[in-house]
């Protein structure tokens, strides 16, 4: 199954990193964005979020493609996953934050269309209140960056 976007490295792409660098590996999404921004090769927009919220449905509608980058609680052998983010309204209990699928679904519902969306989940392990990624998370971050640079950035 192929999940290749038409064209990704364009100004019409939004790279949206979710997390909190004060909680160790929860900073993976932001760390990913930090590296991409430093490299200066990405033509799209870069945006940081603690959490996704309802107004992000309004934010993403301006783009052709959106890539949500977040820490992943589940350990994966590859260290990360990349998958299409389909509009599905799923919600947690008494939380103010939305997941990427719900943001896309809300955008679709409100505006009649939504950008093509992908999720890049990077496995983390340590969620304590401290700064700095764990060693294992850094390895996963590198793997995700390599994947993104070698695959996604070439489109």
């Amino acid at each position: 199954m192929t999940h290749a976007p038409e064209k990704l490295n364009t100004p019409a792409t939004l790279l949206l990193g979710i997390g909190n660098s004060a909680r160790r590996d929860d900073g993976l999404g932001w760390a990913f964005l930090d590296v991409i921004r430093e490299q200066g090769q990405f033509a799209g927009e870069i945006t940081y979020r603690y959490q996704l919220q309802v107004e992000d449905a309004d934010v993403i509608r301006a783009y052709q493609t959106v890539i949500f980058v977040d820490a992943l609680h589940q350990p994966l052998e590859a260290g990360f996953y990349w998958k299409p983010c389909l509009p599905v309204a799923t919600f947690g209990f008494s939380t103010h934050a939305l997941n990427p699928e719900s943001v896309v679904a809300l955008c679709q519902e409100l505006y009649g269309e939504a950008p093509e969306a992908y999720t890049l989940g990077i496995s983390g392990y340590d969620w304590e209140l401290a700064e700095g990624l764990s060693r294992a998370a850094i390895i996963n971050l590198r793997a995700a960056l390599l994947f993104f640079e070698e695959k996604a950035m070439k489109y």
């Binding site: 309004d58 309204a89 947690g92």
Partner: protein, 499 residues
Amino acid sequence: MGKKIVIDPVTRVEGHGKVTVHLDEAGHVEDAFFHIVEFRGFERFVQGHPYWEAPLLVQRLCGICPVSHHLAAAKAIDQLVGLEPEDLSPAATKLRRLLHYGQVFQSHALHFFYLASPDLLFGFDAPPEKRNVVAVAAENKELARKGILMRKFGQEIIKAIAGKKIHGIAAVPGGVHKTFTPEERDYLLEDNETPSADTMIEWAGEIVRFIKEYHDRHFQWLNSFARYPSGHLGLVGPDGELELYHGRLRAIDAEGNITLHDIPGNSYLKYFTEGVEKWSYMKFPYLKHLGRKRGWNRVGPLARLNVCNGIPTPLAHKEWEEFRDYTNGQTNNCTMHSHWARLIEMLHCAERIKELLLDKDVLSTDLVRKGTPRPEGIGIIEAPRGTLIHHYKVDEKGMITKCNLIVSTTHNNEPMNRAVRWVAQNVLSEKAEITEGMLNQIEVAIRAYDPCLSCATHALGKMPLQVVVLDYEGKVVDERTKGEGAGLEACETGVIPDF
């Protein structure tokens, strides 16, 4: 057979937050508990950092109200540099207030449109897939769009004053970081891609009318659901008026008798202490002189509208009078009236925001004042969810040696437990089957307090609501999970799909 029903929203960082309902062998509710965690870890995290970092570090506490923590810390840090709130320049005070009203406005909008409106519009027994904001958008696009734009308006205020929507620097010791430009002011006063302050006042008024009409139609359950007597706590201004940024602490009991008479925030330790229960990580603040059983208070919109003598903006004050008249001027102990109170506050914030935008002081460049350093500082504000206390001590080098935070959700710990107990006793007891609607009523009772259970961290794949029924020996006799975090179901574990 005795049973224990567990409602268990497993979050990644905070640990377990769950509801346990304990039934006896006959199926009657023996007791019910709501277990959540607080931020003690963060109090240790800031120790050893220089004091001036505190307003920046504490923004990481919460992804929903970083501005509230930022401002409470900033008020405490002002004292560490030797300044009382009245010592700050008019520009600094008014810009901080503008930031605060923008934060409360957007937070209240989020709660109403995202968390409360699905319950109100679709009811307890609606299927889970319908009780969410996407379903609200499907049935009432106008309402959902307005909600999003109201959020956006508040966020634009934060961006204008702090420089960024997140990671911004608004308050610094003794003042604010940046000037507010005429262009930024005009952007917020005019309709453009973000609606104007006038439009926000108009829409906030519309939503207050909506909730009043809703009360007219559904008064029976709104007046009775999770209603219980309690104390109420909040800041008030010099004339007893509603005050969200700086004032004195006032508390009343369930009958309206004053139990804490407008004390200055710096003396909070003289009046408050915190209780501990073996079944909860979270503490239970209460007034010392009333004791653990009688001294606890609700905080937040309902409490604030109960303790104040009025609201210092005309439209919101008129609504407050109507709100008070609804209970014949008596203390309002109806949990579900919190939504109405929250929307009145939203209208107040919109009015205040416009006033401040039109005040020439906000454009001044007189931003920072200096004083003589002190070893201790206390900052108290009314965050969207209620009274928020930040307390710091520093050593001679200005490094933080002690931090004490009492956040709104901690104050509401006992009230939320009471609400859960009410539902357990009135809805769950003696029912042979625990239905989705019954469980949702527990959620509705908790949601009325808009608790912050998910502060700052949400990795993909977590935030389910797990329901486990255990017998008296702890054996699982039934188990249900809903709201499992999306993220993994479309992807094989450990496999990167072909690109």
